[in-house]
């Protein structure tokens, strides 16, 4: 399994960077770019292996499945693995010229964050999942407070407190699981789970899934997100909004479909949470004047779409949800990186006060992001939202109406942001060239938006592959061997 070595590369280079930087800080960005590129290449080769040969399983240190820690990559986890490694590489490339101070800390902790996200996606063990989630949480706290301004430190403390509650809930749920079933391997848990009916199981399910719902920012639990995501430097906002909450969503899908597959109530809860997040997030985004805050609320709204689609629990709904997970990550990292450029040039977060002239490249890329977010035809947001509309129409037509109205609100705040930022050239600041290392990631992400919009078959077949293999028996058989 190559992507495991990608994960190890990220984790090891995270600790190599501080050592090398004792001599000179100049090398840190180069090491980070190289390491994330290696991780991306290795994930791609793993993706080909998974699609050709099926689930890849690796038992750590040769301990057989229920006893040791299992790493498993299947058709569901390979999609977020590709996303994390690709978007992570682009974000680090973007940071190359964007981050000018305290490079050692920045690159080391960012690589640790990416490595821990890869770990969450690889693991087949509940406690290992918890450990990697904790590493990603701790590194996120540090990166949110990276600017050391009053707002970012307060946001980081708020994030830390709310997320500590979430991780404690997850740990307590895992303790209950272990107490009742005596195993932590996900495949083994799934087998044991179908055999017994224990009163503690619904409690542990509630604890673990609400913990993960806090991490992925569903609405009653979202209060940390609009503070924490904008407070970080823009590339980190892109990682937090594009990848970290998506990985939380992946963990929800993984745990609910593999471990708690016999409890249908999970999916109804996801629909309720999803619809609330979708509408509340979009309405709150419409009221914001701060660009990054608006994007953060928009992430909540998009997570709502994904939650609702996954909650349908039909193949079409799940495919739509997973496809939208891909699109959300691409669009949101594009928009946050773009907002970094805009805010750097305008010198303010407030969209009403922005009057600077921006290059047509920035404007074009931002427009592509906004239109994809709103779900216009020929952009990737449309193709995944279309699947979600159809899936929800088959189940509850009322939800389709809500989803379409929310899309209209999304278009409204997107266009509002575009008009406020780019259509009022009152400022006098001159256009300065953007470095190539910042243009390339933006261009690649924008092209991905259009590519997945024109040829939605790519994403649909990826998501379809994941869904057709979501039945947990192949996974259990591959992990436990037999």
């Amino acid at each position: 399994m190559d992507s495991f070595y990608g994960l190890m590369t990220l984790l090891i280079t995270a600790f190599v960077i501080p050592v090398v930087s004792l001599k000179t800080e100049k090398l840190a960005p180069y090491i980070a770019v190289a390491s994330s590129f290696v991780a991306f290449i290795l994930s791609t080769t793993t993706a080909f292996t998974v699609f050709r040969e099926g689930i890849q399983v690796q038992q750590m240190e040769g301990w057989p499945a229920p006893f040791g820690i299992t790493l498993a990559v299947d058709h569901l986890s390979i999609i977020p693995i590709l996303l994390v490694s690709a978007v992570g590489f682009l974000v680090i490339l973007f940071s190359f010229r964007f981050i000018s101070r305290r490079k050692t800390e920045y690159y080391s902790i960012t690589l640790l964050l990416l490595g821990s996200l890869m770990g969450v996606l690889h693991t087949g063990d509940m406690f290992n999942l918890f450990v990697f989630l904790e590493i990603s949480a701790i590194t996120s706290y540090i990166l949110v407070a990276f600017k050391k301004e009053k707002e970012s430190i307060e946001a980081s403390i708020k994030y830390l407190i709310i997320n500590s509650i979430s991780t404690s809930m997850i740990l307590l749920g895992i303790a209950l699981l272990y107490g009742a079933l005596g195993t932590l391997n996900m495949a083994d848990l799934a087998l044991e789970m179908s055999a017994i009916s224990d009163t503690f199981m619904p409690i542990s399910m509630g604890l673990i899934l609400s913990g993960l719902a806090i991490k992925s920012g569903f609405v009653p639990f979202h209060t940390w997100l609009p503070d924490a995501h904008p407070a970080a430097p823009s590339p980190i906002s892109a990682i937090l909004s594009g990848l970290v909450i998506s990985v939380g969503m992946y963990a929800i899908i993984r745990v609910s479909s593999t471990v708690y597959s016999s409890y249908a109530v999970v999916f109804n809860m996801l629909i309720v949470l999803g619809v609330i997040s979708m509408t509340v997030g979009a309405l709150m985004a419409l009221m914001q004047h701060d660009l990054k805050r608006m994007l953060a609320y928009s992430s909540i709204s998009q997570m709502g779409y994904i939650g609702m689609a996954v909650g349908m629990a039909t193949p079409l709904g799940l495919a739509g949800g997973i496809f939208h997970l891909i699109n959300q990550a691409i669009i949101k990292s594009l928009l946050f990186l773009c907002s970094g450029v805009i805010i750097h040039k305008a010198g303010t977060h407030d969209m009403r006060k922005m009057g600077a002239k921006f290059s047509s490249f920035t404007a074009g890329v931002f427009l592509i992001g906004v239109l994809s977010l709103a779900g216009l035809p020929f952009f990737n947001g449309f193709s995944s939202k279309l699947l979600i509309y159809i899936a929800s129409f088959n189940a509850f037509p009322l939800l389709t109406v809500i989803a379409v109205v929310t899309s209209a609100i999304t278009a409204a705040y997107g266009i509002k942001a575009f008009v406020l930022i780019f259509m009022r050239n009152t400022g006098k600041s001159s256009i300065t060239g953007m470095p190539l290392t910042m243009q390339i990631p933006l261009a690649i992400l924008a092209m991905l938006c259009i590519l997945l919009g024109i040829i939605p078959g790519i994403g649909e077949s990826l998501a379809g592959f994941a869904v057709s293999n979501l039945n947990n028996m192949p996974y259990i058989r591959a992990v436990l061997g037999g």
Binding site: I138, I142, E154, I157, A175, D227
Partner: protein, 115 residues
């Protein structure tokens, strides 16, 4: 049974302090109490009264199967303790920074952020 009650009381007490106390240091103490409650719960899941250490050398396999303490929760708790130390370290350094920037560690006075 008593130990489960105590551990759940600790979780409840910790959660109360973490959510409702205004002083950030007290919040962190609450976090410590809450996670220690969970650790106590996890340890007592695998504990046996009069149990022995699960080392194969001293006793036969069958003796161990009935008499030994489950080592897995202890390993889990060790890992979790390390994680908690890191979280506490990050949290306290953030609180120090917040005190330097604003001169207060009361959450209600600190809060300029909207939900």
């Amino acid at each position: 049974m008593l130990v489960y009650v105590i551990s759940m009381l600790m979780v409840g007490l910790g959660a109360y302090a973490l959510m409702l106390k205004e002083n950030l240091i007290k919040k962190m103490i609450g976090l410590g109490i809450m996670s220690n409650g969970i650790h106590l719960f996890l340890i007592s899941v695998g504990y046996k009264i009069g149990g022995v250490a699960p080392i194969l050398k001293q006793a036969g396999l069958e003796y161990l199967a009935t008499h030994s303490v489950d080592p897995v929760p202890q390993a889990l708790v060790m890992t979790s303790i390390v994680i908690n130390i890191s979280i506490t370290a990050v949290a306290l350094s953030l609180i120090i920074q917040a005190y330097r920037k604003t001169g207060t560690i009361e959450a209600d006075k600190l809060r300029s952020l909207r939900g």
